[in-house]
């Protein structure tokens, strides 16, 4: 197993990982922070000579965990802020909304954001980052069958949430 070559990883994966984080977190600043966390982890792993079998899946795993940690911190912060101020943080500039030109798209965006984090991450990695199930599994630390199940569960949920509106 080779040690990590950080420069090569940055060249090849910084853009897709950034796009992934941007989609996953729906927040440009959080995506950028997580992007830096991810590659700084790679620098430390390379420095300590850590061997990594699947560098791409490893990066997605670190990125996914980093986004999850950010979300936890943010929700704690949000809870504190809500105690002080009942106004919700204005999230109108969050990227998915920028793409959501219609009410329908906004509903889909909300539904995607409501997905359990693991299902959302699995769906994004499989469909939009074009990872195969082995890589999604390595990134989510589960079996390929579970990775696949997460993707389909995400779709099933989205469909269930949105079907009423579709039929209407």
């Amino acid at each position: 197993m080779p040690a990590l070559d950080v420069e090569a990883l940055v060249r090849e994966y910084a853009r897709p990982i950034h796009a992934y984080l941007w989609r996953l977190t729906g927040d440009a600043q959080v995506a950028e922070d997580c992007l830096q966390d991810t590659f700084l982890r790679a620098v430390r792993a390379a420095a300590s000579g850590t061997q990594v079998a699947q560098p791409r899946a490893w990066l997605y795993a670190v990125a996914t965990n980093s986004a999850r940690d950010h979300a936890r911190k943010a929700s704690r912060r949000l809870q504190r802020e809500q105690l002080l101020d009942s106004d919700l943080v204005d999230r109108s500039d969050a990227p998915p909304e920028a793409a959501a030109r219609s009410d329908q798209l906004r509903r889909v965006a909300d539904a995607v954001r409501r997905l359990p984090p693991k299902q959302r991450a699995a769906l994004l990695m499989r469909k939009y980052q074009e990872l195969d199930y082995d890589e999604v599994a390595a990134a989510l630390d589960c079996s390929p069958a579970t990775a696949r199940a997460n993707v389909y569960q995400a779709l099933r949920r989205l469909r269930a949430w949105l079907s009423d509106e579709e039929e209407a």
């Binding site: 950080v6 940055v10 910084a14 853009r15 950034h18 796009a19 941007w22 989609r23 440009a28 995506a31 950028e32 992007l35 830096q36 590659f39 700084l40 620098v43 420095a47 300590s48 990227p95 998915p96 920028a98 793409a99 959501a100 329908q104 798209l105 889909v108 965006a109 995607v112 994004l124 499989r126 469909k127 939009y128 074009e130 069958a145 579970t146 696949r148 199940a149 997460n150 993707v151 389909y152 569960q153 779709l155 099933r156 989205l158 469909r159 949105l162 579709e166």
Partner: protein
């Protein structure tokens, strides 16, 4: 376990086709078009380029720069290797195969080591002048970042022993506030990565014996260095 278990068969096939899980063509579900529209959108170019530029900058700061090293062919104590980082001197070694020296430096500092004349010129010049008796002290910062705090404090204490004087392992141990640690002090000095510049040769056994020296020709080199410095061989 099949993930699409609870989806109707026809719809599952169309999701499989959409995901690339199946080669069978099927028209994508209606929701798929919305998901595509929503999620294919990436960050705006200026957001992306800004994020990537700041990432590069952050990584440059985080990654250790290269270490430069070179050889001093002829000194009174034989050939020497010296290595410097951007922060200061990181290694001095007596005659060692180049590969071995380079690897040791790279492992210690977790940075690539590159043989180069110019970045090492100051260290090489001062070392040669010192060993030829044309220089009284070094004006070289030392970079000991990879050492433990204990090792660093021992080496700093050794650095404080003036030229022409000697100390003992026990005295150094007391000076750093660890009076019981004479043996550990001896070990830390034995692993001194920058001998001569950090003058571990000025530290002797408690009985005033030269004790040991890991570089060059061992105790002979230690004695030679002390003689060069005009040391009185009685610990202060």
């Amino acid at each position: 376990m099949t993930g699409g278990r609870n989806l109707p068969a026809r719809e599952r096939r169309s999701w499989e086709a959409w995901l690339g899980d199946s080669k069978t063509p099927a028209s994508p579900p209606r929701l798929a078009q919305q998901l595509d529209a929503l999620l294919r959108a990436g960050p705006e170019p200026q957001v992306r380029n800004g994020a990537l530029a700041r990432l590069s900058k952050r990584l440059r700061q985080a990654q250790p720069g290269p270490v430069y090293y070179d050889r001093i062919e002829r000194t009174p104590v034989g050939a020497l290797w010296v290595a410097v980082s951007d922060k200061g001197l990181v290694a001095v070694e007596f005659e060692t195969p180049e590969r071995e020296f380079r690897r040791r430096v790279e492992r210690r500092l977790r940075a690539p080591a590159v043989r180069a004349e110019r970045p090492t010129v100051k260290a090489r010049r001062q070392m040669l002048e010192y060993l030829q008796g044309r220089r009284q002290s070094f004006e070289l910062p030392v970079d000991l970042r990879d050492l433990t705090p204990f090792q660093q404090s021992v080496l700093r204490a050794a650095l404080a022993v003036p030229r022409g004087h000697v100390s003992t392992y026990g005295q150094i141990a007391r000076r750093i506030g660890r009076p019981g640690a004479a043996r550990a002090v001896g070990q830390a000095l034995g692993n001194n990565p920058v001998p001569i510049v950090v003058p571990c040769h000025r530290v002797l056994g408690s009985d005033g014996s030269l004790h040991g020296y890991s570089g060059g020709r061992g105790i002979k080199t230690k004695a030679w260095l002390l003689q060069l410095e005009g040391a009185q061989l009685t610990p202060a």
